[in-house]
Symmetry: C2
Subunit: 584 residues, 2 copies
């Protein structure tokens, strides 16, 4: 999008280029997602979302819908449902290969010449040649689409399963201008493979939100059964294929240190620095996004309430590693950037950063973790090394850590600049300015009900109902109270909290379990909670609600709509579950 901003002649050129197309359909609403990343646009383009929105303004509403749907990246289900009707209505415009004689034949060499807005943007797909120049400005992934210019779409589409849908092909078909020569088709076929072929097997109980990249959450009742989430059930949130890393040759690169770059083997990381253990809850910024979707469709994976889990992490303290490398506070370093070894087809790695104060603080407990729950990190969680930034949104806990860069600036990655930010419910894709909001770091106070489930039936003869759940807050703020309501928030009862470290106390006849509080500002792990309360008389239905309070006495907002945001992040309104009371 940055490209367009500096390219004022773009709009007028569109008209020109259109006439060069083999079968131009002026004004037709078309969409094609070549490289739909998580979010809206490339890493270096802060205003991407806005600009494409401005271009879109004035088009039909269905366009913005389509735009939002495809932007979901891996949100295949979402995008599909949005366009199912359209697909059903549309006469099929897919051009089968047997129609080849209707189109001119182009060589790969010829296609390669069309790699920019001036000369036109061409791509190939399964032997077809497509002039997508017109589509660039409305591409959900922003200017990233230009990376495919002059070449094949297959490696990009293999990266993001969202493209594997009929209506995406329909849209593509509208841009067809020719056929690739049979010779070049043969060559191309050999270069395509599934980048996800290295992904590890996953537990079948996980609810899969996207297969490629893999994103899955455990059944929510499992969360409150274990204070430490079993690794197999720990939610998995990947942005890209799981990289295969050889621990023997693995090196962690550190740049920006005063004494020059540092390179550490896994063995050095384990042996040269004290081994620290931290119990920390990680939560995806999109946890409970499904609640926002019920208010109004948002972009992103439709997470339930279980994109949050708790584990023990063991590793070297980032602080120790940086200090050994000669880092001295007080310089121009304001951020510590992390780069993963997971890459997209263009070679761009996942990236994020945190403020240097958090990274260096003795009380920050930031780890370069090589163990999870007492075992080597599993492939899905960053083997061999990931950053664990306790109290901070999952997205900054970079997995498969390849590089650390000390910098004056935040990471320039897409996920730091143009995603994982919160906006007003008033902000839409036409008006969003990603530069106007800070990157999410600490998360706000959160809680949810894991039991009973929505729609469950409670037996009247039981006389009591037991409600369970989790509660957590970012920034090391301890959850100090959870209130539970059985009547939709009219009256409240205080739940019993359960922490990790507990001590038993004999007091007279009673045996008391006290939760031991961590030091102020270092409560990195969640609290599980439970309330057993008499079933309200006469109630035939209960609206069970929970809300948590953290040590800064921050509370959860009551309702979803006023915190709704176009990306569906930070969904932390009171959690509500409706159950029926059976009179049998």
């Amino acid at each position: 999008m940055l490209l367009f901003r500096h390219c004022p002649e773009f709009t007028s050129r569109i008209g020109l280029l259109k006439t060069q197309r083999f079968q131009p359909r002026p004004g037709a609403a078309s969409a094609l997602a070549v490289c739909a990343r998580w979010g809206s646009s490339s890493g270096s383009d802060g205003g991407g979302g806005r600009d494409s929105g401005q271009y879109l303004r004035g088009r039909t509403p269905s366009w913005s819908h389509l735009f939002a749907g495809l932007l979901a990246g891996t949100g295949a289900v979402l995008a599909y449902s949005l366009h199912q009707n359209k697909a059903e209505r549309a006469a099929t415009t897919v051009q089968p290969v047997c129609d080849a004689h209707k189109f001119p034949i182009y060589s790969q060499e010829e296609v390669k010449k069309h790699r920019g807005l001036a000369e036109g943007v061409w791509v190939t797909y399964k032997g077809g040649v497509y002039d997508i120049t017109d589509f660039v400005a409305v591409h959900p992934g922003g200017s990233k689409i230009l990376l495919a210019a002059g070449g094949a779409l297959e490696p990009f589409w293999a990266m993001y399963a969202v493209h594997n849908q009929e209506h995406v092909l329909e849209i593509l078909a509208e841009y067809k201008v020719g056929e690739l020569s049979p010779e070049d088709q043969r060559q191309e076929a050999t270069t395509c493979s599934d980048p996800y072929s290295n992904d590890p097997p996953r537990h079948p109980a996980l609810r899969v939100n996207s297969q490629k990249p893999f994103n899955g959450e455990p059944p929510s009742e499992i969360l409150s059964e274990n204070y430490i989430t079993p690794t197999a059930f720990f939610f998995k949130r990947n942005h890209l294929p799981v990289p295969k890393v050889d621990p023997g040759t693995y090196r962690l690169q550190i740049e920006g240190l005063p004494n020059g770059p540092v390179s550490l083997s896994l063995e050095e990381l384990k042996s040269r620095f004290p081994k620290h253990k931290v119990t920390a809850t990680l939560q995806c910024a999109g946890n409970r996004r499904s609640d926002m979707n019920q208010v109004k469709q948002v972009k992103g994976l439709n997470w339930g309430i279980a994109a949050i889990s708790n584990a023990t992490w063991t590793g070297a303290r980032l602080r120790d590693v940086l200090l050994e490398g000669g880092y001295a506070p007080g310089g121009t370093t304001h951020h510590v950037q992390f780069e993963g070894l997971d890459k997209d087809v263009t070679g761009t790695t996942y990236g994020a950063s945190i403020p240097v104060g958090k990274a260096l603080s003795e009380e920050g407990d930031v780890l370069l973790a090589y163990e999870m729950n007492g075992e080597a990190l599993p492939a899905d969680h960053g083997f061999p090394v990931r950053v664990v930034v306790p109290g901070t949104v999952g997205a900054r806990n970079v997995k498969w850590l390849g590089k650390i860069v000390l910098s004056e600036d935040e990471s320039t990655s897409h996920w730091q600049q143009n995603d994982y930010k919160g906006f007003s419910p008033a902000t839409d894709w036409d008006t969003v300015d990603f530069k106007s909001a800070p990157a999410i770091q600490e998360l706000p106070v959160q809680s949810a009900i894991t039991q009973p489930a929505e729609g469950a039936v409670v037996d009247r003869s039981m006389e009591e109902v037991t409600v369970k759940g989790y509660a957590w807050s970012g920034g090391g703020r301890e959850v100090v109270r959870v209130d539970v309501s059985l009547d939709g928030g009219r009256t409240w009862q205080v739940a019993q909290l359960r922490g990790g470290e507990e001590e038993e106390e004999e007091e007279g006849e009673e045996r008391q379990v006290n939760v031991v509080s961590p030091p102020p500002g270092r409560a990195w792990a969640w609290k599980l909670w439970e309330l057993t309360a008499p079933l309200p008389e006469d109630a035939r239905e209960l609206e069970i609600v929970c809300k948590a309070v953290d040590s800064s006495y921050n509370m959860q907002p009551d309702t979803v709509a006023p915190i709704w945001n176009l990306r569906g992040v930070l969904s932390n309104a009171w959690h509500r579950v409706r159950v029926t009371v059976s009179e049998d």
Copy 2:
């Protein structure tokens, strides 16, 4: 109350003692507030509130009301309104002095013998002798009442103006058992004086919530007129009389340092340590308590939205002073306690503590401040030295600082242990356990509308409405956005924020003012905000609402009822103002 817990024979004794009374009225509900502190009971009694609540359980509901009202301490207006009806109904039982002959005459010596539950608790007031033994257990101020045992009530009542109400005298009259001998009455008269006689003059524009001790807030529209609140308008929240401190002989005592105690003169504090300046907003935990009172009556001063102000503070860093004194981290010090020089009649000083991590942190910016807005601290704000704990509730910013104690434990003061804590809306004075909640330190995100005022009339011909206000969050979390609604929260617009440090930027034709963000976690000062929006067509009334978001993306809760708490603290729901649109 601690007394009662260790005194199991107390309840049975009550019956016994009752029979010794001159005019016993068994079962009559009576109340008397001898030493109604802020809150419920003495500083060393964590369970005070609960214990007296348990004693009260089973009595008539009007009792708990009375209890709550008097506990308000300086909430004279509140208490008065609760009992006005009672006063109107009651036949006057006040015994004028001319009735003296009806009562036996006691010497001061005889009164002095009744200083405990065993021998009875007697007090004198304006020549009358009262046996208040029966009242001790239901005294709103807890066992503190025993401090007056055997002596005069006047010095205690002079401390707390809440007692200067007719119905308090009515209640007292029920306990009358005799007259003080004329000789002792003369002596007593000379020992009584107004402890508030040293209090400084205040700006007449302040809205006074209590005169003695002085508690006042500025007109709220003044807040948003000045980024730095003029000192005269800075809200004033005193717990006790303003002490008169001679700066020449002033010493700050520091205890708990490894090399022994330290004593610093004002001059030493100014000359031996670097002078630091911090702009920090202070907010009373009870700010916006009036919103909670609208849901259900709470205990405490009925603050509006202006118990918050912003100033620059200059002084030595607490960190520097403690480190110079030999403090080394890692020991058993977990808290830094502060004692004020302001005292009640028993000599008990105001006190509070903060976690040592905050006190010692380089980024914590805790000051031993001797200047406010560039001038010596005024008497009402702690002359000559106060602690400024940025991002932390006002109550820990101890004024007239006399002593600092490094300790393993929190301050044992009443205000740390049995006040300034948050509870569930389900918690009442019968069930509250002050030990179950953490002392308020960092405050949650807050905002309020200062303009237009509630009930204002907006002229339709203006076509626009301008809304102004403030927003702030505790813990150094910067306010990153304020949403404003003109329709009660259905739709929102983003307000323009105004910070302290701003830089102007020329961009093309436009001149932009950018708010410069402080380092992460060190945003101690508020943001002022403003929104000018078109008047909604056809709207005859606007419900203007604001809500702020801080850098941890914490949001304000929507409504007051679910965060209501018996002490009326932490009132940070969306602020709402209703205005009328005039069609003239």
